[in-house]
Amino acid sequence: MHRTGELYGQFETLEQQKETAALGMWVFLVTEVLFFGGMFLTYTINRRAFSTAFGIGSNTLDIKLGAGNTVVLIMSSLTMAMAVWSAQVGKKKLVSIFLIATLGLGTVFLGVKAVEYKQKFDHHLVPGRSFDMKYHPAHPMPGDDLEELDKEKQEVDKAFAVDPDINAHGQLYFSLYFGMTGLHALHMIIGAGLLLWLIKASFAGRFTPQYNTPVEVVGLYWHFVDIVWIYLFPLLYLIDRHR
């Protein structure tokens, strides 16, 4: 069984091993850009084609939760960077603390996402047989701002009058919404798993100024996931926002 800090068989030096790991993660992130990119492209093209339906879709998203989540994620990138720094300067205890903070913030993000998803489910905005953009305005739920809801109702009714296919186009928006945020959330869950592994290793004191590659590499991954969200948030929540 290998132990951290030891040279793996295929490498000549620790330096080579570290350089390889970092380059490997960078190359992987490039593939992720292309992966998300396909969906971003599809979203952009469809937004242009169906701006009314997509506009309504955007406005059903809770901007407070979305903005809050953005702040949470940015802070988690900060704590992650602090964890890498702590490892580099040898403050082993801080490494664990910052990693746990990152994991905590990530979990908050995922929790908020779950709340948002449940909301969409309750409002019949999940693509499928029961998808109906008229449902929520016609069925207020506890905690709804009735004035806002009324504005949404007017908007939806107007859209239907102009384009009876609003439900189909709206489904496109929400398919992409769930697809993109779902893929993002999947990456965060994987990131959380990686963080758990790192936390366990940090408790055993494995990360030192000489050896902290796993922290650095997971850090790269985490920052990337953060950047994807920074693109997702304006695209999904902010464009065409008027309420």
Binding site: A161, V162, D163, P164, D165
Partner: protein
């Protein structure tokens, strides 16, 4: 006209000789290079065959001028191929204005064609020789492709889009046409025959069997009333919507200041997504007819609206952009 190339179909359209000439041109260039390289390889293969077991070759690492030469010369030839092909293609993608319009609908696994007077054909297409013919292609299900080898032309038939193709038949006869975009089980038998007739024979054929077929213009006029289009699109320009007299083929002025030519695609879009382009001075009131009209009905309405080209255009109440120059 004889086939110019061995192994080629009849040349029966204006494009065929050009495509065959292009084929010959590219074949000759490629043949030259293929023969030259193959000959060099064969010659070297024998001339420099190893003479003794320990022999090595003469190390020649490269020659930049040679590299430049065999990059630049092929590039020039490639640009020639590109240029000539582009000229033919651009011509093909721009049908002449007074072409005879025939509507063609592809569906799994048959073709329906509708002649200008409404005469319908299934898996057959009759066209007059010497006349520019434009096919307006629509699909009712998956992507198909209308391919006439003797004419050297094809175009995909894509659901949700109109595609057009044109040709001028030059030689009377019967020629295969094929579906050439895989479309499911019977893709291979989704074809038929194009019959090119002398203009007089074509005219005779056209009028001879018009029988019970509905003229698309007449059908379109009926639909225009049935679907209540006429209540807003009043001919004298006094309705809630612009008059459609003379609009087909004209430039329409839109609310955002831009202009668009009112062609088949514009008419279709206006029927299915009326708020995509609002005419200047009008409100977005028109409901959509998405899901309420078949492709054929849309084509009939288009044919009717085209027939209104000859109607008097009202001074106000039409969406046509003021012209400062002749169209």
């Amino acid at each position: 006209m004889q086939s110019q190339l061995p192994f080629s179909p009849d040349q029966a359209s204006n494009f065929a000789p050009h495509v065959d000439d292009l084929m010959l041109f590219i074949t000759l260039i490629c043949l030259f290079f293929a023969v030259a390289v193959t000959a060099a390889i064969i010659i070297f293969f024998f001339k420099y065959h190893r003479k003794s077991p320990n022999e090595v070759g003469v190390p020649i690492h490269g020659d930049s001028r040679l590299e430049a030469a065999w990059m630049i010369v092929p590039l020039i030839l490639a640009m020639g191929m590109f240029g000539w092909g582009a000229v033919v293609y651009v011509d093909y993608r721009h049908a002449p204005p007074d072409a005879l319009d025939i509507y063609v609908i592809g569906k799994q696994w048959m073709w329906k064609a509708q002649q200008p007077n409404g005469l319908r054909e299934i898996n057959e297409l009759h066209v007059p020789a010497g006349r520019d013919v434009r096919l307006i292609l629509a699909s009712e299900d998956v992507i198909h492709d209308f391919f006439v080898p003797a004419f050297r032309v094809k175009m995909d038939v894509v659901p949700g889009h109109y595609n057009t193709m044109w040709f001028r038949p030059t030689k009377p006869g019967r020629y295969h046409f094929f579906c050439s975009q895989y479309c499911g089980t019977n893709h291979a038998i989704m074809g038929g025959w194009v019959t090119v007739m002398e203009p007089a024979d074509y005219a005779a054929w056209l009028s001879g069997s018009s029988g019970a077929e509905a003229n698309p213009v007449v059908a379109g006029e009926k639909l225009f009333a049935e679907k209540a289009c006429v209540t807003c699109h009043v001919g004298n320009g006094t309705g809630r919507a612009p008059s459609l007299n003379g609009v087909f083929g004209a430039k329409v002025l839109l609310a955002d200041g831009s202009t668009v030519v009112a062609d088949e695609a514009y008419i279709r879009e206006s029927i299915l997504q009326p708020n995509a382009k609002i005419v200047a001075g009008y409100q977005p009131l028109m409901p959509t007819f998405q899901g309420q009209l078949t492709e054929e009905q849309i084509l009939s309405l288009t044919a009717y609206i085209k027939s209104l080209q000859s109607q008097p255009v009202p001074a106000t109440g039409s969406g046509i952009a003021p012209t400062t120059e002749k169209r």
